[in-house]
């Protein structure tokens, strides 16, 4: 088993994957140039390191002036590059995944994310690729399905956009036999629109 880096995972999932505005910077100058184009806080992540969050290698809420220090620390901790992205403000976090079952073949999973994800394990699976309507029907099976209907008067999750992400995951799984597992986590829902903030592709 061989886990691709976040950047390589996202490349593997292809250009149809909805992502934040982000860049894999190979130099401090490139990082600063990118930061200059972003209004609002920036996220910086070390690249090529497993368990970035646990290792303290994800920096949130950076201003442009913080980029220099973040670069120095994160480039050294990882593979010498740093992933920078606009920081999203999500009303809900989801997880979209993919794996292979010995009996049922490739499957896409959709689950409620966030810090309690591992406690609730609120996940539903769909045979890949999903057929029309299956994603909408499947999310109704989630214990937390009402979270997707809109929180405190907010917009509901765009199920067409969510289905699109599920189909991107399914397509990679169904067309690339080297891919064992896919984990888009978190998928951040911002004003109803799901965006893949982090992704992991594991090869056999």
């Amino acid at each position: 088993m061989n886990a691709l880096s976040e950047w390589d995972s996202k490349q593997r999932l292809g250009s149809k994957l909805p992502r934040p505005v982000e860049i894999l910077a190979t130099s401090l100058q490139q990082a600063q140039a990118f930061a200059a184009t972003i209004d609002g806080p920036i996220v910086a992540k070390a690249s090529g390191v497993a368990h970035k969050t646990e290792g303290g290698l994800v920096r949130l809420g950076l201003a442009r002036s913080d980029i220099g220090q973040a670069w120095n620390e994160l480039a050294a901790a990882g593979d010498g590059t740093v992933l920078l992205a606009e920081q999203l403000h999500a009303e809900l976090e989801l997880i979209v995944g993919g794996y292979r079952d010995p009996g049922f073949g490739p499957l896409v999973t959709i689950g409620i994310g966030g810090i309690a994800a591992e406690i609730f394990r609120d996940v539903v699976a769909i045979l890949a690729p999903p057929e029309d309507g299956e994603v909408a029907a499947a999310v109704k099976q989630l214990a937390g399905h009402r979270l997707l209907a809109g929180i405190r008067g907010g917009p509901p999750v765009d199920l067409v956009a969510l289905e699109h992400i599920a189909k991107v995951v399914a397509e990679l799984l169904c067309t690339d036999s080297a891919v064992a597992e896919i984990d888009c986590n978190p998928v951040m829902v911002c004003n109803g629109v799901p965006i893949v903030a982090d992704a992991l592709v594991v090869l056999d």
């Binding site: 979209v96 794996y99 049922f104 073949g105 999973t109 996940v123 539903v124 057929e131």
Partner: protein, 442 residues
């Protein structure tokens, strides 16, 4: 080859009955098979006849179905004998094969190959056999079960567990529902639960199918077969071994959180199968499917009772299930007021009260059924054995065809009326409600 020979054989051979004083499972099998089947022959190395059935040392005719119940180490010889005689389908009931480990698995594969080479389909090994209504109230009992219920009907059942097959028959005896086909597939060396499902889907006699499944080796094929079958008739599945897969759930990403039971649920959902969480809900859902209650979705139900408390439990369960309890029309209420005591609560639940004149029950119940806002009815009666209450439900069901379930306790007269009308009774008010709300994809 079609499984017709399995479920409606014209001739049967039985391997494994003892000719001596000792009674073996093979003798039960022989007696069961001989009771009703047209042509039965026993295969035995020395005897000329066993328990009055003619016996031969080697099978000398191409019978439709061979039932093999010899000790494990002699199964291979028996299968070879049957295959050589041109048997269409063999059932190996004997144990000691794939379920015991790798060595048993090797023998099992060899037996399967032997059968396949001769064009003989093989059921088992390690199974309880077949029971089938072969028409006109005649039964094939090619199983170890010595007392099978003989009410004929549209329900068929496939089990990967022999013991659960016993639970199925026990349930059938108490529910009184009619049987079409039963097969215990055992280790499925050849014929799989999926193969049987496919055949049952095309079986005109089968109107509803129950399945007890431990594992899906052929998940995708099962889904494709099952979705074609569920387009024609309801299929209810009880999956055992949900949690073993859940043990895989330790790791932190989604794929592992899911585990393989989640995959099973995905498959069952796509196939349009009704999945039950456990034994009780499975039998309830299977009964509901067999009684045709899963055919159309209902939302608006009436709860008719003369027992207050239990009907409130039913109302709670209905609301939890997303069903509604509509108010009756003014017209219906006017009719009811003329029939029941003034203090009767005519909201929904509709409590006719024990003080309702018994000869008014029928008209009152018919009035509720006739109300246009009522799509289905749950009838509740705890220990107030006015048979007219049951007669009212029976007549209204016959007149309107509205889906109905009941909770009846200690009221045999009421129960008998309902049973005769095919109204299913459940073990609690909540389960009577749930049975009206059995659907695929939940």
């Amino acid at each position: 080859m079609s499984l017709d020979y399995l479920f409606a054989p014209r001739s049967i051979a039985v391997y494994g009955a003892s000719a001596g004083a000792s009674r073996k499972l093979g003798n039960t099998l022989l007696a069961n098979a001989a009771n009703g089947a047209p042509q039965v022959v026993a295969v035995h190395p020395t005897a000329d006849s066993i328990d009055g059935i003619p016996a031969v040392a080697r099978l000398d005719r191409p019978v439709d179905l061979a039932l093999i119940s010899v000790p494990g180490q002699r199964v291979e010889v028996a299968v070879a004998d049957a295959a050589a005689a041109g048997v269409k389908v063999g059932i190996v009931l004997s144990s000691g094969f794939g379920e015991t480990g790798a060595a048993g698995r090797i023998v099992q594969d060899r037996i399967a190959k032997l059968a396949a080479a001769a064009g003989m389909r093989l059921v088992g090994p390690n199974c309880m056999g077949v029971v089938s209504h072969v028409g006109n109230g005649r039964w094939l009992n090619g199983s170890y079960f010595w007392a099978i219920p003989t009410t004929t009907g549209g329900l068929s059942f496939v089990s990967q567990s022999g013991a659960f097959g016993g639970m199925f028959f026990s349930h059938l005896r108490s529910s009184g529902l009619g049987l079409s086909r039963f097969l215990s597939v055992g280790n499925s060396a050849d014929v799989s639960a999926t193969d049987v499902l496919e055949w049952l889907g095309d079986d005109a006699q089968t109107t509803a199918i129950g399945m007890f499944i431990e594992g899906f080796d052929d998940g995708r094929r099962f889904v494709e077969v099952a979705r074609r079958v569920t387009a024609k008739k309801p299929v209810v599945v009880l999956k055992a071994g949900k949690m073993a897969a859940g043990a895989k759930a330790a790791a932190s990403h989604t794929g592992s959180i899911a585990g393989s039971y989640t995959a099973v649920q995905a498959g069952l959902r796509r196939a349009g199968i009704i999945e039950a969480a456990g034994t009780e809900t499975f039998f309830d859902a299977m009964d509901a499917a067999a009684a045709g209650l899963t055919r159309t979705a209902v939302r608006r139900i009436a709860i008719i009772t003369i027992s207050g408390g239990p009907s409130v439990l039913a109302a709670d369960a209905a609301e939890r299930a997303g069903l509604s309890l509509p108010a009756l029309s003014e017209h219906t209420l006017a009719q009811l007021r003329s029939l029941v005591p003034a203090f009767a609560a005519l909201g929904n639940p509709i409590d006719l009260t024990p003080q309702c004149p018994v000869d008014h029950f029928i008209a009152a119940i018919e009035a509720v059924y006739a109300d246009e806002s009522v799509e289905a009815v749950v009838a509740i009666n705890c220990g107030l054995d006015f048979p007219q209450f049951g007669t009212g439900v029976a007549r209204a069901v016959a007149a309107t065809g509205k889906p109905t379930t009941a909770f009846v306790l200690d009221a045999p007269g009421v129960e008998a009326e309902m049973a005769a009308a095919g109204v299913l009774r459940f073990a609690s008010p909540e389960r009577a409600i749930a049975a009206l709300n059995v659907r695929a994809g939940k």
